[in-house]
């Protein structure tokens, strides 16, 4: 494959092209400036953001929009902290009103400890939001059947977890991710549970279209170095996937010619 071909290898979500296949979260950083620098180093075109009450009392608190320009980076409003469809719909309708955001990340949680998605509420919300014109990227469990139902409900991207949010455990069920990859043409993005850069490479080698990372970068001892590591890992994984790996064999095959040995 020529270099030129790789450059055209964009991530396409809801008919919009993005250069980077790494999506990053903006939570858990020590400061807004640290967050902005890490995003810059990660090369991400899309960042997830949360919708919360404005601090009426302390208005001098730095605003996210002052550090990350929504004209340059695509904001992906999320529904983090929502535990039912009603809360999620309210949050995303408000997000749309802030400035016309239609590309959103739906995340309806079902348990406060393991943070697994509540899939019945998620499915219900996906249907409603899609009908309202939202482009819904859906955080979900790694169940191929549920992924199919989300696709039928109008999701614009399927985003199964690798492991519980913030756990850093990496991809726990490669088989299921592989099955979801085979069954869907929608963008497949691993969301949640990654711990280190190689986890992102594995996701990309499984044929995923991208990965979404927050904690693994924000809470690394050196977030800037980890942001770079994830950027490179996603590129490496994608190139590895596109290059067509060798077959696995049980026995060894010599790398040097066996003829002409002295």
């Amino acid at each position: 494959m020529g270099e030129g071909e790789l450059k055209k290898d964009n991530l396409i979500i809801a008919n919009k092209k993005f250069n980077s296949r790494l999506i990053v979260g903006t939570g858990k950083y020590k400061s807004m400036s640290e967050c902005a620098k890490a995003i810059d180093l990660s090369g991400a075109d899309i960042v997830t953001v949360a919708v919360r009450r404005v601090n009426i009392i302390n208005k001098n608190k730095p605003l996210l929009m002052d550090y990350i320009d929504p004209k340059k980076i695509t904001y992906l409003p999320n529904t983090a902290g929502c535990f039912n469809s009603k809360e999620a719909l309210r949050t995303l309708r408000l997000a749309r009103e802030i400035g016309g955001w239609k590309l959103v990340k739906l995340e309806v949680l079902g348990d406060k400890k393991n943070l697994f998605p509540e899939m019945i509420e998620t499915l219900k919300s996906t249907e409603i939001l899609s009908k309202e014109g939202f482009k819904v990227m859906v955080y979900c469990n790694d169940d191929p059947l549920m992924a199919k139902r989300l696709e039928n409900a109008g999701a614009c991207a399927i985003m199964p977890l690798a492991a519980p949010i913030g756990s850093g455990l990496g991809i726990l069920n490669k088989v299921n991710i592989g099955i979801i990859r085979k069954q869907t043409k929608l963008p497949l993005i691993i969301d949640a549970g990654l711990g280190q850069a190689s986890d992102a490479t594995i996701a990309m080698e499984l044929g995923c279209d991208g990965v979404l990372v927050n904690t693994a970068i924000a809470k690394a001892k050196k977030p800037f170095v980890m942001a770079l590591a994830f950027k490179n890992a996603v590129v490496a994984g994608r190139q590895s996937f596109l290059s067509g790996r060798i077959e696995k064999t049980l026995m060894g095959k010599p790398s040097s010619p066996s003829k002409g040995i002295i």
Binding site: G25, T26, G27, K28, Y29, M32, C35, T48, V49, A50, V51, R52, R53, V54, I56, K59, L63, L64, M65, Y75, P77, N78, A80, R90, R93, L94, A95, R96, E97, I98, G99, I165, G166, A192, L212, N214, T215
Partner: protein
């Protein structure tokens, strides 16, 4: 001098006294909040930001003003 009458409202979950007969837009301006960067809900109904000047605040109204913050 005429005494300004005040009314009680609930703003972002907290009770607050504000001037009587002011619009939502006026309240946002008093609070020095950039309208472009927020969304506003009045009694659970999302407000069209272009019509904030026409929406008068009444006693016991529940107002929510939200914006984007860092999140995963």
């Amino acid at each position: 001098m005429k005494k300004i009458k005040k009314i009680k409202i609930k703003l972002n979950g907290k009770e607050r006294l504000i001037e009587e007969n002011i619009s939502l837009l006026k309240l946002i301006k008093i609070l020095k909040i950039p309208v472009k960067k927020v969304a506003i809900e009045l009694n659970h109904e999302i407000m069209d930001k272009k019509k904030l000047n026409k929406k008068m605040i009444r006693k016991n109204d529940k107002i929510e003003i939200v914006h984007f913050i860092g999140g995963g």
